[in-house]
């Protein structure tokens, strides 16, 4: 029900997606601006070391329809060359390390994460009083709380994402085991979906409880974890289904529109996940809410539904 209602709200208030696109454009500009001094040093080193020619050859091979084994060998060669460059070129190693840590891990997560509380506030307006609040107005009004929220949430996301990264990279060893090669892609994707489902489920009600109930950052996190444990089955199943559909749609549209479609599908996906957080929060707190102009009463235990 939460999944269906989140989708209904997404479709009925689709105009918000364009606002989100504008927000992500601003984030992209700022992140690109922060990256530029590091990227120019890194790209210059890559060009001088001849790795750019290796990349061009591999890309041409993909376009020419080379065998997967050839492409895999070439990719391994590129990774090996980058490792060599990392050891031999100090400028490259320092720039790439600073870029990954300062820009990708800290700045990007911080700036991009600032949307979550305003988004929850806009969704609360839609769901609790069928009112349309301006995203940027809420963004400014909640900036202080958003900063505190993002700084604390960054600890959770960085640790969880690092765990996912190491789990997946270690699973690539399956490709070297005879017999496991056929199952390796399936297992890697399965582990990815399971870990992402857990990552999103645990914090699903964090931002909604901060905005709707006015809880502080840590109390809201504790509330979200408790609710997730209490309603683990419906929350996990909603997120597993949503993430499978989101990954499939983004891959499909990304490949068949040569990446152009991602400009729209990524904001839609992000907005859907946030609306799902809100519908789960309202549903599991037994709060009534508007769905496309009509009031929805969440089923309770008295109705025979857990």
């Amino acid at each position: 029900m939460s999944f269906k209602n989140a989708f209904k709200i997404l479709v009925s208030k689709f105009g918000l997606v364009w606002v989100f696109m504008l927000y992500f454009l601003c984030v992209g500009v700022i992140v690109a601006g922060l990256s530029a001094p590091f990227l120019t040093v890194m790209m210059r080193a890559i060009k001088n070391s001849g790795i750019s020619e290796q990349i061009a050859t591999t890309y041409q091979g993909i376009l020419d329809g080379n065998a997967l084994s050839v492409i895999a060998d070439e990719l391994n060669g590129i990774i090996g060359s980058i490792k060599e460059l990392f050891k031999s070129d100090k400028g490259f190693s320092v720039s790439s390390a600073v870029w990954v840590f300062l820009v990708l891990i800290v700045a990007y997560r911080f700036i991009a994460g600032l949307y979550e509380l305003p988004m929850a506030s806009v969704a609360e307006g839609l769901m609790s009083s069928n009112a349309r609040l301006g995203f940027f107005r809420r963004f400014v009004a909640l900036l202080g709380r958003s900063c505190r929220f993002v700084l604390v949430k960054m600890i959770y996301t960085v640790v969880f994402d690092a765990a996912i990264f190491f789990a997946l990279t270690s699973m690539f060893a399956l490709f070297n085991i005879k017999g496991a090669v056929f199952f390796a892609p399936f297992l890697i994707m399965l582990v990815l979906v399971v870990l992402l489902t857990l990552r999103y489920s645990i914090v699903a009600m964090w931002a909604p409880s901060m905005v709707v109930d006015g809880k502080n950052v840590f109390a809201a996190f504790a509330f979200s974890v408790k609710k997730c444990i209490k309603h683990i089955k419906p929350i996990l199943s909603s997120f597993a289904l949503s993430l499978i559909i989101i990954i499939a749609i983004n891959l499909f549209i990304g490949i068949f529109t040569l990446g152009v479609g991602l400009i729209v599908t990524i904001p839609i996906s992000v907005m859907f996940i946030n609306l799902l957080n809100m519908t789960l929060f309202f549903g599991k707190s037994n709060k009534r809410y508007y769905v496309d102009g009509t009031v929805f009463n969440p089923p309770t235990v008295a109705d025979g539904i857990k």
Partner: protein, 275 residues
């Protein structure tokens, strides 16, 4: 164009008094800062051999800017007091229908802290905007043609980046400027004023932002035309002073006109209440 028309109509009545108030910061700015350097650097950029990020930085910021601490303080202080005075004078004119300049210290006292906070925020926005322009232009040039003398396509991309980012930065600057009248007239706190300012601009965002950008468009065109002529330093300072005077006077009046129009407040300067 509605707000622009109203602003020019108001400036017809009160330009000279506002120009007098804004003269000191305009002279200071005209002497030390090139108008819209983050956009007008394009002609010089097309002739520069770029070796890295630092060369474009030198085109936008003065390389010796660290030595210019005292001029920077001078500009900030004169701008602060002039804006306090001009905005208070206009506000009183709009609310009471009288254009007076009798108690300058009282006028400054009315709006000192709101103007100080907004001026600090605007300075931060402008610095971030300039740094983003430098970063993105250097990255774009490296991707398009590598470092060295920029090609025509790199120059066009640089111009597009600087103008697009200016418009984007003004989307944040316009509501920031509206915070001053909101704080002075309604006594809003910083957070309440910024929320209400975004709400007010959100009523008619395209028109409100275009009206604010207009003086910069005029100055930009003038700067581009002037860049084709070799002019001596004294003339350069006079031209820059006139441009800054136009920008500060126009924006002071525009912010108040926008605030009164969007809030639906009655303007008594349009009627003769006092004889």
């Amino acid at each position: 164009m509605k707000y622009v028309r109203e602003t020019f109509a108001y400036l017809k009545k009160s330009f000279w008094l506002l120009a007098l108030i804004c003269l000191a910061p305009s002279v200071a700015l005209g002497f030390f800062v090139k108008p819209l350097a983050s956009m007008t650097f394009i002609p010089a950029y097309s002739q520069t051999v770029v070796r890295g990020f630092g060369d474009i930085f030198a085109l936008v910021f003065r390389v010796d800017f660290l030595k210019l601490v005292f001029p920077a303080i001078l500009i900030f202080v004169t701008l602060l007091f002039s804006l306090c005075l001009s905005l208070s004078v206009i506000e009183k004119h709009f609310r009471m229908g009288r254009l007076t300049f009798r108690k300058p210290f009282s006028e400054i006292n009315n709006s000192f802290f709101p103007v100080l906070k907004v001026l600090l925020c605007l300075t931060a926005v402008m610095i971030v905007y300039s740094l983003l322009v430098i970063s993105l232009v250097s990255l774009a040039q490296y991707l398009i043609c590598g470092f060295g003398k920029p090609t025509a396509s790199a120059v066009i991309v640089a111009a597009v980046i600087s103008i697009a980012l200016f418009v984007l930065s003004f989307c944040f600057s316009a509501p920031l400027m509206l915070m001053i009248p909101l704080s002075v007239m309604y006594g809003y706190s910083f957070s309440d004023a910024i929320t209400s300012a975004f709400e007010l601009v959100g009523k008619n965002p395209a028109t409100a932002i275009f009206g604010g950008i207009l003086p910069f468009i005029i100055v930009l065109i003038a700067e581009y035309i002037l860049s084709f002529f070799p002019i001596i330093f004294a003339v350069r300072v006079i031209v820059s002073t006139v441009m800054y005077l136009f920008i500060t006077v126009y924006l002071s009046a525009y912010v108040m006109v926008l605030m009164f129009s969007l809030s639906g407040l009655e303007r008594r300067d349009k009627k003769e209440f006092y004889r």
